[in-house]
Symmetry: C2
Subunit: 263 residues, 2 copies
DNA sequence: GCGCGCACGTGACCTTGGTCACTTGCGAAA
DNA sequence: TTTCGCAAGTGACCAAGGTCACGTGCGCGC
């Protein structure tokens, strides 16, 4: 795409060599930054496949294709057979599951650097979650067969993948604890807000962060109704536990929130 | 232990070679069947590390130690640093997490052939769950350092491990769906019973199985109270959806249960 | 046999939080 | 500026289910 400027919006295969040394980003026609391929995306090397041998990186480059999605686009759908993995370079992605009656549970919001669709791609089962772009997204796609062959040839990478899966599992169990063991919605919301500030905080002891989710989405993350989230927010504000200024959340009384969250 | 008959109850290191061709089991002094090592345990080869090269199997044998636990024993505890993995050969193990106030959530009951403690061992984080022997248990223990070195040298095995992790993750997500998206406890119980019969059923279209759990444990699996489970059971019996004969559960009206479970 | 412990059964009560229905407020498009 | 649409705020209502309290039945050890 970057050197042809012809193709459309979705997946743009790019298999002709490596671009180390070139500028990492290029401006795309429709205004998004386009990442050339995996090697020019800092995340792929730094977080997932760090410390791979040069030949392995070369090979990785060859099987990777850059793709981009507009806000609201769906990368893959729960139940769909796994096509491959997406290495998120730019923009955040909502990973959710939902029941037939429309109720949705957001499992997590993936940040740049994460690998999406890994468990399904590895096991050959259908994607267990649905991935929606919350913002315009840049991702590197690797097809299942390419990826499996790559892992077969590079045991080091397979081990890295196993570690990544282990961490994803950890996160899932933490989520389950929070949803399954809580006594009240307030407990779940307090825990959610603390976790959110811990991972998206801007220093200062993680007492403040941009909260870019609607009440509806927060409700879907903690397994509650939208109204309950609204009520809890006003309740927490009234009790001086937090403040909301625009899209910025400030935890005024972190100790009390931690106490509410059940230590 | 099997060849020394001296040590106590827990972990019995055994690093002196391979015993292929010998009888797979030996009778231990205290009445449990002792498995010599990983190679004589059918599960290790068949389910997890199947199709490994002979040298890899040999190596695996060298780093594996047989261990056994009485009913009620704890293999590892949530929060404890990961010591290594346990390949379950015999007996079932309850994997749970609990909050400070004592509330417990049973994530799953592991059956023979499963590898326990894998995510924590791979990532180097603490065990995310507590493992309790529901029955007398035989397991093969592999220490973390031995295991990681083994995986580094045998990429094939690392890939198998990644697949196992992916499947564990899938199961966790399914559990989360069931707990997080259900509208009622009845829905969760119906789903649980159907799943249980599907995995522990004795043929016949999975309408019947031994239910070896107490109401308390079932409650902890579906995130409800013991009384609610009891009430739902009597309710389901009354509605002719199921029968309980001794420890045998019979689903008389599977369709209705599936409908209750939300398709 | 007797008593103890534990799993199960059941009723009463009451809090939580889901649902519905509506209003308010805000930002972007027309 | 007006309007549309969506997010947020709020009250009333009510069912689900957690909690407490107690009784029952069964198996096991002494």
């Amino acid at each position: 795409m970057a050197d042809e400027s012809t193709s459309g919006f979705r997946i743009v295969p790019r298999r002709n060599g490596c671009t180390i040394g070139r500028g990492p980003y290029m401006r795309a026609p429709y205004g998004l930054e386009i990442i050339e391929n995996c090697l020019t995306c800092p995340h792929l090397q730094e977080r997932v496949f760090c410390n791979l041998s040069p030949p392995a990186l070369q090979r990785l480059s060859a099987i990777t294709s850059a793709s981009s999605y507009p806000k609201g686009a769906t990368l893959f759908v729960e139940g769909q057979m796994a096509r491959g993995v997406f290495v998120l370079c730019n923009g955040r992605v909502k990973l959710s599951t939902s029941s037939i009656d429309g109720k949705t549970l957001i499992v997590r919001i993936a940040d740049p650097g994460e690998v999406l669709g890994l468990p399904a791609t590895i096991t050959g089962k259908p994607y267990e979650l649905t991935a929606d772009a919350v913002e315009p997204v840049q991702a590197n796609f690797i097809s299942r067969t390419d990826f499996l062959n790559f892992l077969r040839d590079h045991g080091e990478a397979a081990l890295r993948v196993a570690q990544q899966l282990g961490e994803t599992y950890h996160a899932a169990i933490a989520e389950m604890r929070s949803i399954g063991l809580a006594h009240s919605a307030g407990e779940k919301l307090a825990r959610f807000l603390l976790d959110w500030c811990a991972s998206h905080g801007n220093g200062k002891g993680e007492t403040s962060a941009k909260l870019t989710l609607t009440h509806e989405e927060i409700a879907q993350m903690i397994g509650a109704s939208r109204e309950t989230v609204t009520r809890l927010f006003t309740d927490f504000k009234k009790k001086q536990l937090l403040q909301v200024k625009g899209s910025t959340l400030i935890l005024s009384n972190k100790e009390a929130l931690e106490h509410l969250a059940g230590s």
